[in-house]
Point group: none
Chain length 209, copies 4
DNA sequence: GATGAATGAGAGTTCATTCAT
DNA sequence: GATGAATGAACTCTCATTCAT
């Protein structure tokens, strides 16, 4: 009676629908994306969507939250490796700015929700919870880094972590598809690190002269 | 034959509709905001809206672009007053962060459009043009400030201005209604200025004189 | 600002929709009657229905309950006139059996609901409440008639009133459109009165011999 | 080569599906009962239903007509035993009123069809034919009883038999699940017999005192 | 100038039925 | 023989827009 193959196929198709949904919701917004369009993009008929998700709303929830969980896991992994806080943070910034273009749609979807928090109160709360886990972890690592003299001690860790997340979101929002090929792109990434006010760079700047 | 009074009333009602539209579009998105709801919020009936705007789309365009023009004018004004570039930029940051809560909905609307640039290509272009005027002006002032030694010369003005705008957007997006009363709020504002990498920020203000 | 004419027209159209709805719901059942069909029968387009009733369900409720209230008022009126209980009951039976064909659809709708009480619990309750008012009133009149010697004292008023209502429903259900022209129709009406076990008729029968 | 065991199992499952279908169709109506729900209630999957019945409609037909045939057979059996017409009719009434609660759903289904005769013209015709066999038989027995002086000769047998069937339907429709435990239930049964206007009962009642 | 009833295209969702497994 | 995923037509309901009043 076991049907592992079917179950696998089901999951595959489910994630196929989800992937298409992320793109379309991000590009067109919730109401302007029809379930028929999603179905067509996946290559199935209208009714099939509802075999995998009970409603359009449920599909939207999944499209927002599931990729967000993925991103979070990857980002947090950077901060839990071996190394001094300064190195960990630098790695995280590298990771996030290098992959920002892979997650453009996922991030836009999150921003879309945050921008309409009255319309999507439940989703907003979950997104904010997820964000809080990020900022809390960054805060913690940053505070250690300050004690070790790797970061300027004048800034509050809570503020720094929020400022960084704001900046990251702002960059994802403001910049277009062609971010990566932009001549300033590399500098912007470096500037993101500068936001953390590391003590080293100045020395480096000093040395380099 | 002129009817200034009626004309005045017309304008008043028009801007009343526009104001409601900004709030509702920002909170609920374009498709999820019905013209009937806007009409009801203003206190008129469904048909009246179309006496002032030819279509829902036209109303949306106006709701996005007209406030944006306002904000731009005010921001640019800061940069065209007398004073050294450092002071001008500091004033602009002050001005923008102090008034960010007044324009939450207007900014969210802009971000809503930028997040869906495929859906709103025309609007996106106009918004980006408007943003470009801002960044260009900031760039110009910043470059002067670098020459005068007020800012770190290692950063490119183009990058700095874009980073700042990204940060501003990110803050508007990420933070909730209670921003201003948040204990970190004051620091975040200061950190915004720090993004510009001024050479002697605190010392100049206090000690230098 | 007063618009009595419009309000009147609204009510007129509302009752026009309701009338059509009663017929169609009774003939085809709830699910098999499309709102589009109702609209078409009335001579309006699909959307118009929803200007008068918030949903198909609400329309159905109105189609069941409003005529029922009408019928009840008329039936009860018979029992509240001057005359001995025997005469009042005879009048009521006359009234109901003479008009049963006018209300075929309305009665079928009620029976349709009662037959599916699990599906329509709220409606069923309201219909049963309405029926209880009827049976209670009949009971009361009947008991008086028994005291006055007009009805056989061996039967319980509660049972008699329920038996009569059951019979009335059964007749409405079982007989087709051609009831009135059926040769037995007149006798069936008389038999309905016989259900009440009046004491007089037999004497009459005796007299006639 | 015959496979009696499999065939038996098939019949068993078929009647299992039919039994569930009767209950669900009666409770929810035709359109509101999905084949998926029937399948689930039986404990099979959606497709299986169509191995036993070619379509939902065919299943509905069977659910209405097969139990009706059963009921008819049992009822007619009462009238074909030995005994005077008066006794036979009394037995039939006893039998039907004693078992009415067993067939609530089956009867409701018949009433459901009769209530929507335009929607189910074929079924209605078959049900009416079946009913006619019943009324004709009762008529015949009743007429004999009149000749033998067991029933009042003033009533027409055709009318009496129809009135009784109407009453029976009305009772099944109007009364709820708790019929049997209702204090008036016994009297209602007796009243059903009274509908036939037997000549003896009153004398009996008189004698017994 | 304002009204608000009517429109009708289009949305999300359901479900009887099929068929490869 | 049983399964259950896919289908796609049909349903209810929404809403920007028009226009007679």
């Amino acid at each position: 009676m076991a049907r592992p193959i079917n179950e696998e196929k089901r999951q595959e198709r489910r994630s196929c629908i989800l992937k298409e949904a992320v793109v379309l919701f991000a590009e067109n917004g919730y109401s302007n994306t029809t379930t028929a369009l999603i179905a067509q993009s996946v290559g199935v008929t209208a009714g099939t969507i509802f075999q995998y998700f009970p409603s359009k709303e449920a599909l939207f929830y999944a499209a927002v939250l599931e990729p967000l969980a993925d991103i979070q896991v990857k980002s947090l992994a950077c901060l839990k490796q071996e190394g001094t806080p300064g190195v960990l943070i630098k790695n995280m910034v590298e990771e996030q700015f290098n992959h920002i273009y892979c997650y453009t749609n996922e991030l836009r979807l999150v921003q879309y929700v945050l921008g309409q928090r009255i319309r999507f109160p439940e989703l907003t709360q979950k997104v904010l919870e997820s964000t809080k886990v990020m900022t809390d972890t960054i805060e913690c690592v940053y505070a250690k880094g300050q004690l070790m003299g790797e970061f300027n001690k004048n800034f509050s860790p809570a503020m720094i972590s929020r400022a960084y997340i704001s900046f990251l979101n702002g960059v994802a929002l403001t910049l277009g598809e062609s971010i990566i090929h932009h001549p300033e792109w590399g500098n912007l990434k470096e500037h993101a690190l500068y936001l953390f006010a590391p003590t080293q760079p100045k020395e480096k700047a000093g040395e380099s002269k």
